[in-house]
């Protein structure tokens, strides 16, 4: 469904992606792991069209995302940002219903608000947060609002950028469960990037490890512990010693 072929992206003299090849099947939950600064976020942003690779192709259902109707692609995507990226000036329900209040998916205000409240309930938030501003919510609640916004327009493909970073273990568990439920019940395709190995084991069908700008290893959660790849072993067990040099 999603195919990345020989994708290269650099910033000035920093080659971030150096020939990434990755395939994600429909309905699959793919988790991309890798150290800080290895280009995981750039990988997602490339698929979303937020950055344009210098070389290679990215296709969704065989169609190049950098050609054709951009809005049509974006209408199929939902994204949970690392810091939630909620719009400060809008109340929570308008954040959730943002896409439903304008553009090709526009609905009447009452209907959009009702959908927003239903999505807030879906992520465990009461309707009374709907009229509050994002700044009035805790980090965990903001993340849930971000999740509600990501699924509000029923996207086929959902991206999660570090969904549990900065959350306490209990809230991280709640977010992991929500992601798993939402993806499985809707049959959506999910691509998640994270360092959190608990999260990886909770939500992944398939794992890809990004290292030195390339996909170094792919496999299932079950395969991960027996991969035999020293890079994967070092990363998943968090060892300071190994082939991956820690930046000190």
């Amino acid at each position: 469904m999603i195919n990345l072929t020989d994708v290269h992206k650099s910033f000035a003299t920093n080659d971030v992606l150096r020939g990434v090849n990755l395939s994600v099947s429909k309905g699959e939950s793919m988790v991309v792991i890798g150290g800080s600064g290895t280009g995981k976020s750039i990988l997602i942003k490339s698929i979303l069209g937020l950055v344009t690779p210098e070389r290679g192709s990215i296709t969704v259902d065989g169609k190049d995302i950098n050609k054709g109707d951009r809005d049509a692609f974006l209408a199929r995507f939902g994204m949970l940002f690392q810091g939630a990226a909620l719009f400060d000036s809008l109340p929570v329900w308008q954040n959730v219903a943002f896409r439903l209040l304008r553009g090709s998916l526009k609905k009447p205000t009452n209907e959009a608000r009702a959908i927003a409240i239903e999505k807030l309930r879906r992520v465990g938030l009461n309707a009374d947060v709907a009229d509050r501003l994002p700044a009035e919510l805790s980090g965990g609640m903001q993340k849930r609002v971000g999740l509600a916004r990501a699924i509000a327009a029923e996207p086929e493909i959902i991206f999660f950028d570090e969904p549990t970073t900065g959350l306490d273990p209990i809230m991280a568990g709640v977010i992991n469960d929500l992601i798993r439920e939402i993806v499985s019940e809707r049959g959506a395709t999910a691509i998640t990037i994270t360092h959190d190995m608990t999260s990886v084991r909770a939500i992944a069908d398939k794992i890809a490890m990004l290292h030195a700008g390339k996909i170094r290893w792919t496999g299932s959660v079950a395969d991960m512990d027996t991969s035999g790849d020293p890079y994967v072993d070092q990363f998943i067990h968090g060892h300071a010693e190994g082939p991956i040099e820690a930046v000190r």
């Binding site: 942003k45 974006l74 209408a75 995507f77 940002f81 304008r102 553009g103 916004r149």
Partner: protein, 258 residues
């Protein structure tokens, strides 16, 4: 010597590149005027934020400037027995020059900085990226409404500033300097021409465009982190102030050089 020339050349090329980026940004902003969708609510909010909430600062600035101008002209004119020209000089000074320039600079301080800080913060917190993923073009949603609102509302702010500035001069002249109120108003009305008023409003529109555009441009091109937001805010105000003063000179030349 070669190194010095290379540095000068690099600085010049950097300046040209910056001008090119700004020109491209301006062109893109204007191009969205004729390409739907339009975000009416954002435009309305920008009108209120830039126009209505700037009225107090514009009014106070113009009032005190008009009053001070009357005192200066009176004391300066007394040196060659020309105290009677206070109404005319206050009127022409406020309408042609001080009204638009002061309002422009106050808007640069209040609105440009606010727009740059808001958009830069949105950029570093990935809100701009979020807009794109929600099928909303940031230039249409953030830049065009603000630039259009500032361009349309600034002539009104300048007109308000002109009137309040003249009123400040009138109050000082009649209450402090002993001018006859009716004669003062008559002299003001007789002396001002239609061109004076048109030039004032036109300057307002251009200064509003510059002020909002600079805020958006530096906000959109902000670097990461708190320092990036601070730098974008500072640069936007400096650039807006310089461009407003340069545009003022060019517009004065265009309107009154003959």
């Amino acid at each position: 010597m070669t190194q010095t020339l290379a540095s000068i050349g690099a600085a010049f090329l950097g300046l040209l590149a910056a001008m090119g980026r700004l020109a491209l940004f301006t062109g893109q902003t204007i191009s969205h005027l004729v390409r739907p969708p339009f975000y009416g609510r954002e435009f309305g909010n920008a009108l209120i934020q830039i126009g209505y909430f700037s009225l107090p600062v514009v009014g106070l600035t113009a009032f005190f400037t008009g009053g001070a101008l009357a005192l200066q002209i009176y004391s300066g004119g007394a040196r060659f027995s020309a105290e009677a020209v206070v109404p005319q000089i206050v009127a022409i000074g406020m309408v042609r020059e001080l009204g638009p320039v002061l309002v422009g600079l106050m808007i640069a301080a209040r609105v440009t900085s606010s727009i740059a800080a808001e958009i830069a913060t949105m950029k570093v917190t990935e809100q701009i990226d979020a807009l794109v993923t929600l099928s909303t073009h940031p230039m249409k949603y953030l830049t065009l409404p603000r630039v259009l609102a500032a361009t349309l509302v600034m002539p009104i702010l300048v007109a308000v500033g002109d009137i309040i500035g003249i009123y400040g001069g009138f109050l000082v002249s009649t209450e402090r300097l002993g001018f006859n109120a009716a004669a003062y108003l008559q002299n003001t009305a007789d002396f001002l021409t239609r061109l004076d008023i048109i030039s004032s409003l036109a300057k307002g529109a251009v200064f509003g465009f510059i002020a909002a555009l600079m805020g958006c441009y530096y906000g959109m091109n902000s670097e990461r982190g708190a320092m990036g937001v601070g730098r974008a805010t500072k640069s936007s105000v400096v650039a807006a102030a310089i461009l407003i003063l340069a545009a003022n000179f060019l517009l004065t030349e265009a309107f009154f050089s003959a």
